[in-house]
Symmetry: C2
Subunit: 347 residues, 2 copies
Amino acid sequence: MAGLTLRELASKLGVSVATVSRALAGDSAIATKTRERVAEAANAYGYVPNVAARQLVSGRSGFVGFVMPVRGPNFIDAYLGEFLTGLGEGLVEHGYDLFIATVPAGRSELSVLRHVVESGRADGVVVPRIGEADERLGYLIERRFPFVAHGRLLDGAAGHNWLDADSVTAFGEAFDLLYDLGHRHFGLVSISDSMTFRHLRERGLREAMTRRNDPTVTLDVAAAPRFDRGATVAAINRLLHAERRPTAIIGLFDELALTILEEAARAGLSVPRDLSVVGFDNITAAAYAPPGLTTFEANTRESARAIAGMLVEVIEKRPAEPLHRLIRPKLVARASHGPVPDEPRRL
Amino acid sequence: MAGLTLRELASKLGVSVATVSRALAGDSAIATKTRERVAEAANAYGYVPNVAARQLVSGRSGFVGFVMPVRGPNFIDAYLGEFLTGLGEGLVEHGYDLFIATVPAGRSELSVLRHVVESGRADGVVVPRIGEADERLGYLIERRFPFVAHGRLLDGAAGHNWLDADSVTAFGEAFDLLYDLGHRHFGLVSISDSMTFRHLRERGLREAMTRRNDPTVTLDVAAAPRFDRGATVAAINRLLHAERRPTAIIGLFDELALTILEEAARAGLSVPRDLSVVGFDNITAAAYAPPGLTTFEANTRESARAIAGMLVEVIEKRPAEPLHRLIRPKLVARASHGPVPDEPRRL
DNA sequence: AATCGCAATTCAAACGTTTAAAAGTGGCAT
DNA sequence: ATGCCACTTTTAAACGTTTGAATTGCGATT
């Protein structure tokens, strides 16, 4: 399958394989003239080293692993594509490639991760979507295997490498924006899954609330399982038809915010006149859904690129202290937020 | 890095490495009792074979390669994520993993592909987005390296493995739908890049036109470079402000169709009253952009899954005849198409 | 003239598997 | 006793690299 071997190239040049190997590695023990001659021949014959052999002796694979998150049948967004694009871009700069493992039906994500690590197919892994008691992180930490998490643990975030969106700050910013527009009754549409970002985002909101020290402010939280559309719609309508309907509802992420827009329209509420809605992520559809969703740009691609850089550092330098990095999301102000209505519209 | 080796496992069991290797491979030359004993021990000790060693001797990597298409700074859609998800799902069923190579700045996609093939890192590759004279296919065919293209060549499609959306039929269907609603003046917003799907889709439209044999039917095509938003907008406005404005404009894919919707709104045209618009792909935003884009579901994830199956067949069975597969897109009728207006609105 | 030092190169082992070929073990017919 | 066969296991080579240790060649030093 592969073309030329080192041995063949060496015999063509009339030197030993060791010389060729060292020459190509740029070893200064090899005479400059020889190095050039070898490089030239390698180039001319199109020599490409066999990675399996190299990997076997060096113990390094040159791969970074990524276990594809298991997703429902109609998961819809650009997140994964952007993330993988950024990861690939970041890795290729350092000479690494990306290896993607999919979880077969009926097996756990952890078991696949374990297999990736123990088969020696990857020098490090990227772990997305961190849960509250994430067994993947526990495993990797214990095994001292290089990894960077996209997201962080709530307790013990100091103990692992991560890059995360600064959603605490972003959600505080969302609150301030709306508070300054006169809103006092807030709603948050959240998920009931045990992802840590749920807590961080809600915390951002509550901390900003506390800072205002305004007893008239209220916050109602409605949550539903992440991929359960029916329950999500029900949760949203609980807020919309509550005794005292919030004048501003924040979606934990854009899919939820878009559903809020849909349900508000269905209920006869005009956004932003009767209701302000804010999301997070800035997915493509956020720009198209009327009247244009105000949200935060999470910059997935750049984040992934940064994660790649961090992971390479962890693999090659094994820093003593865990690496942490917060990415500040940027407000994308569209048309779904506005001043508090003078008087709530009756439904 | 890796845990237990075969040798260690063998010595624990008091047999030779060959026996253990064969037992784990399920070789019937090994006594059933021994096979069971080995399997048990392997399981108990958590033995995971080193892939590099296995790959070195077998010459197979267990990987399918994918060279990430080079993309502009703000490419936006779910295509890549869906495609990779489907590919991963399809591959894992057959015991393959996915390996993603990114093209570094300043290098060609072909050179990266060549490297992937010749380093022995992949047993086969998937090639997306086929161009008119695609040098990647030429290389792979000449090298007899297993691959499946997503999309096909115009000439010589018979000579390579591919899976493609049946966009000829779909665009014919779009034409018929609109013709039956009374439309006679059609516009097509296309791209000027040399991708083969451009021709196939336009062909679908023209063939359906020919079938009607109606001399009053006209078709104006406006094209712009794929990622050039300014030129795209200009091309669309050329159609919208033409002497005889089309009453139905078809976008080669949804991004274009959505831009048509935006420009129509800006020009004061109401969709579908004054203008019908149809797209292709059914991206997420198609559902959110008012009034809801009528389009075709390309089912990327399922296609990718099927591609995985085809590629594994090519790798393992080396069929004499190239494999071809057409996927029929399904019309997603939303609200952007309607009957031809009685009288064109003046702009 | 013998020895040393040093640069350049080669030798050979190792990485952890797979697999063709050889070898060992009993049982059974001759 | 001998040979043969079927079944099971082992031996050893091979895959294509990297790399520590050994070797070579040669000018400089004694």
